[in-house]
Amino acid sequence: MTGRPSTVGAAWAVLRNDLRVLFLAPAGWVFLTVCLFLAGLMFVGAVAETGEASLRPAIPQLAVTLLFTLPLITMRQLAEEARTGTLELLLTAPVRVEALVLGKWAASMVLCLGLLAATAPFPAVLFLYGAPDPGVLATGYLGLFACCAAFCAAGLFASSLARDPTVAGALSVLLLLPSWLATAAVDWMPASFAPALRRVSFVEHLHGAATGVLDSGELAWFASVTVGFLLLARASLALRRWR
């Protein structure tokens, strides 16, 4: 008789398994290809328009790109398992739900790290043709990483709700869309709405990171959104267990 594995050990196992699925199947590479293409377009467009030796003008656009592309990865993570029936097996196995959620989230984050690493030519171009501020670059990447963390968590929650990956993907975009639209709404809604809209806008919360500032308020926002969605994903799976 084997004992119940520790949460970290189980999460590690889930992470390794999901990474194998992501990198050995075309999905992960399609995601990387699409993301790099869109990110390249955004970056070159920003450079051509502003001539700035900074990632700053591209960062909000890169984040929006992630909003629409990350669901390609997260939509499959739980919904696909639900569709094929393996989720039921996982939920009845002696694995804590936390380990399952953390492992899946960590796998998508590893892919995001790979994506961010693959954008290294962007700062290389900036250094080649200008003198960018390394501090601004560092915080810019930190901001994008925070975005990835929050979007992956939201995507995972959406994936935990649906039994079909496509529905999960659409749900994930729908969950995050208001946060993006709030940015644009600040300009045309009555001024009294502006503070509330700014609070929910992820673009507004990227401002410090894009300009070279580490802001505890912004970091706390991304951390809370991430943890919040992970908690919701955990609750969603746990409720399936109780059904």
Binding site: F23, P26, V30, F43, V44, G135, D215, A220
Partner: protein
């Protein structure tokens, strides 16, 4: 069993809801008490101490400042950068003080606000406290240069915004008198004297700047006197000697505790009251191996210990002079001498005419060469009245006041402002001022941009796709 499951489910939901609610509290707390760490190289996202001092004054006065800023004309090159920089800087002010309310207005879309405020030009700002206001123009807020991408704006308006707040809070307007009538360099003629930056600096401090010809203003047969509202008198590059009665007026003003600034070029002349204080003008030009390249006659100056230069030394901000005269000092009773500016020990006083100027043993004077000096004049000096302390600054250069060096050398704006502050006897701290916020730009031509586009939009994704195909095939063949 089903009741047990339902209870478990509700318990799960309740715990999650509580945890999510506690996260909301954490976000709220972090939002209310933010900690910001500026990681930019030049501290570009941190307000100047000068600005923070103005905001502290605003807080102490219990007033609220409303800043309405207007966009640049959309079709102007660099308009997007202009507007973004302006928004960012205003946001910094708003973050720094709950007593600052900012509003950015698109001049093209919202003409009503512009008309209500009587604003008819793009790119400026209106600072209001109560029913008082200060209008700032685009030129007060931005400096433009032509770069690789066209017209590139640098934000220079933080000091102007801070000064506007200070001016509105403190109605005490001191007067800075600029001496005229001896061939002095004019400061209000834009483009001619190119000393308008100096007038801007004084205006930013909320001072009234007035040009005074002591002899002419006194009228025939009357002894000239320094105007009673003058806090300091400054002479910029006088070329003709002062009349004895003018010297007497300035000596008397100094003895009463006034401030006198004297900026003089090589082969100029110092009035006798300064010579009496032990200051002399050397024959020759101050040189240093460390110069503002490519100008060999623009030494990067070192600082002595004085409140004017303290912040410059601490923050390693170099002040640059151009073709500066060397000064000398002689110990004199009742005169406290402090070095402000001097060349490095390897500098020299160039007395020859060879080009490029080089150190010549026996002809040139070895350094360090004194270029700027501050004097405190107290009793028992005959000019000083008991209990009064006169303040004098003598600088062997006029060019360091010029717009080009105020904008182009890191320390000149701060040196000039702090010198004026010290002479005017203000309580304002001697802080760094006038730091331009430069937008770093790329030097990239069309061909290079095409190469970058090809590589980043085409090459990188293609590489990722190829790796994916290889991995996929390898897996299948196994």
């Amino acid at each position: 069993m089903s009741e047990h499951r339902a209870a478990g489910g509700w318990n799960e939901l309740l715990v999650t809801a509580l945890l999510v609610a506690s996260l909301a509290v954490v976000v709220e707390l972090a939002d209310r008490h933010p900690v910001r760490v500026d990681l930019t190289e030049e501290g570009a996202e941190t307000l100047d101490p000068d600005t923070l001092a103005s905001l502290a004054m605003l807080e102490a006065a219990g007033s609220e400042a409303r800043i309405t800023a207007f966009s640049a004309q959309a079709r102007d090159p660099g308009a997007a950068l202009h507007d973004r920089e302006l928004r960012d800087r205003l946001a910094l002010l708003e973050q720094a003080s709950p007593r600052v309310r900012v509003r950015f207005v698109d001049f093209d879309r919202d003409r009503v606000t512009a008309e209500q405020l009587g604003v008819s030009r793009y790119g400026g700002a209106v600072v209001e406290i109560g029913d008082q206001r200060v209008d700032l123009t685009d030129r007060d807020l931005f400096h433009y240069r032509t770069g690789a991408t066209g017209r590139e704006p640098s934000f220079i308006g933080e000091a102007a915004l801070a000064a506007a707040i200070r001016r509105l809070i403190s109605p005490d307007r001191r007067t800075l008198v600029l001496l005229s009538g001896h061939g002095e360099t004019p400061i209000f003629d834009r483009g001619l004297g190119e000393l308008h930056g100096l007038a801007d600096r004084a205006e930013e401090q909320g001072w009234t700047v007035r040009t005074v010809d002591l002899l002419r203003d006194a009228g025939p047969g009357r002894a000239p006197v320094v105007p009673s509202d003058a806090a300091a008198v400054v002479a910029i590059g006088p070329r003709a000697p002062l009349a004895p009665s003018e010297v007497q007026a300035l000596r008397s003003f100094l003895g009463d505790g006034g401030g006198v600034g004297w900026f003089v070029e090589p082969r100029g002349e110092l009035p006798s009251f300064l010579v009496e204080l032990g200051v002399g003008l050397e024959d020759g030009i101050a040189m240093d191996p460390a110069t503002q390249i490519p100008h060999l006659d623009r030494p990067l100056l070192r600082y002595g210990r004085h409140p004017i230069t303290e912040v410059l030394g601490e923050q390693d901000l170099t002040t640059v002079a151009a073709g500066a005269a060397g000064l000398s000092t002689t110990p004199t009773d009742g005169v406290e001498v402090s070095t402000l500016l001097q060349t490095g020990p390897r500098g020299w006083l160039e007395r020859g005419t060879e080009q490029p100027p080089t150190w010549t043993e026996g002809e040139d004077e070895p350094g360090p060469v004194l270029v700027g000096v501050a004097l405190g004049v107290i009793s028992p000096h005959p000019a000083a009245r008991p209990g009064r302390r006169g303040r004098v600054v003598v600088v062997g250069d006029v060019d360091l006041l010029r717009d080009e060096l105020i904008a182009g050398a890191p320390g000149n704006a701060t040196f000039v402002t702090n010198t004026l502050r010290w002479l005017m006897g203000t309580e304002t701290p001697m802080t760094r001022v006038g730091r331009p916020r430069r937008v770093r730009t790329l030097t990239l031509d069309e061909h290079q941009l095409d190469v970058v586009r090809l590589w980043l939009v085409g090459g990188m994704p293609l590489l990722a796709a190829l790796v994916g195909v290889v991995v996929s095939r390898t897996r299948r063949t196994r």
